[in-house]
Symmetry: C2
Subunit: 310 residues, 2 copies
Amino acid sequence: MTTVYVSGHRNPDTDSICSPLAYAVLKNKLDSSQKYEPIRLGNVSNETKFILDYFKVETPMLVKDVEAGQKLILVDHNEFVQAVSGVEKAELLEIVDHHKINFSWPNPIFVRTETTGCSATIITKMFRENNVEIDPQTAGLLMSAILSDSLIFKSPTCTPEDEKICRELAIIADVKDVESYGLEMLKAGTTLAGKTVEDIFNVDFKDFVEGSVKYGVSQVNTMDIEGFIQSSKSDMLTYMKKLTEKGEYDFLLLLLTDIIKEGSLLISTGNVGIVEAAFEIKLEDDVKYVPGILSRKKQVIPVLTKTILG
Amino acid sequence: MTTVYVSGHRNPDTDSICSPLAYAVLKNKLDSSQKYEPIRLGNVSNETKFILDYFKVETPMLVKDVEAGQKLILVDHNEFVQAVSGVEKAELLEIVDHHKINFSWPNPIFVRTETTGCSATIITKMFRENNVEIDPQTAGLLMSAILSDSLIFKSPTCTPEDEKICRELAIIADVKDVESYGLEMLKAGTTLAGKTVEDIFNVDFKDFVEGSVKYGVSQVNTMDIEGFIQSSKSDMLTYMKKLTEKGEYDFLLLLLTDIIKEGSLLISTGNVGIVEAAFEIKLEDDVKYVPGILSRKKQVIPVLTKTILG
């Protein structure tokens, strides 16, 4: 029996793992003449791993490139630069996506794109349109993908249809409290557990120079600021103080950003007066939670620059 | 209220008139916040005119080009060279099509393409998926488009789904005998009534030279060979004889091709012996119906060439 790969995009996020898994289920129910096999093009994130564990679903097979003539369905992408290596020589059967369109293909194929916040929303609609019942595991995957892409309905890309369908899927998946599940899931994805303070600090660190002042700002997403304070704050301060004491930086700032709570914990060492003046705060035990601060580029650097340059 | 144009392709065939008409009906039922207006980019064919008259549907508005920002839905096409002039500056909302894909757009939009033989098949599915009842007029338009694109289910592009949906639409449209209706419709599209023999002869006439023999072959599609024989054969022969008697052509051949009966009536003047030898026939009253002859390029010219060159 011919195998049709059902693939998400490169550097797969949760939608690009869960939607191909669910779509392969649908396709296998609708067409028994071929085998529809979900594949992934990269490592699964901690968030996705949480979902697969929660609903006891096997991780899709990792595929690096496809051979000429390989039957292929693209989910959650349509641009070939985001697709599996070898896509140009594959036999493209379908595309199901919610991104801008940028591709051409010499034959008519099935394409379904919508302006939803998540591919999983479209795939749920396709289950229904084809009168195929959604099993609880698949519902869990689809629900999780919507929660992930929509940041639990908070993202501006989230449509009322995404939320409605997600809540309906939760009933099938037997998830009583969608918001709690979503938080747990996002938390799993941004967990800092198991990482050294050096790892955390260097996830996304940038140097800045304003006049004679050299400083560095690191930012990391987490849903567990409290957990960090308890387990890692003290080690992090030791690490950061060692750096500022070397004299290379006038001050260092670490932003632990919680996109759901919509705020950041500020941790600073060295000449912390600049940070305190910039944000009109007083650090308490070397840290301060500031609501509303989400963007280093838009909300932090401009304020520091203004303070430094006066 | 904003108007959204629902447009078929340039040089519209029946699908490109009927599917936009039907899709506008669906969109107006689903979304009352905007007005969905079917448009056409060119003259309607005699076939399409027959359908609009039969189901008492108004001909869509003719639009030559659209202004910047005009909201637009493309049906039965996706390549911009086939779309309304100004499409690049329009606000493209949706595409519903069954052709190969060749376009890009900077935002996510709704796209639905399938490998069906007709856009109307996809649009019928969308009515059903959205649980919108199809009224008899709209069913008639959709059914007619499928009959047209599929040549009453005979075209190799026709899928079992096209035929199934077409027959279901016929019940809604209260058309008892789909095949008879389809024949009547195709016949209306290929009627030669009202055309002079000169018009008919010059619809698609080509000159050929093989060695010292110069000849001409004209081909015209019709579903009413009998009607032609009764009303125009005699005038056509007079016209063609005048041409061959001038001496410019050794012989002339007119193919009146019936794509449904799958054969052609051959009418020849001048040195008709070449035609008789080539097809191993004997003209009767200057004409002969030859079953199976459909393609001038593949079935007529090669045989004539071989006969002439020996």
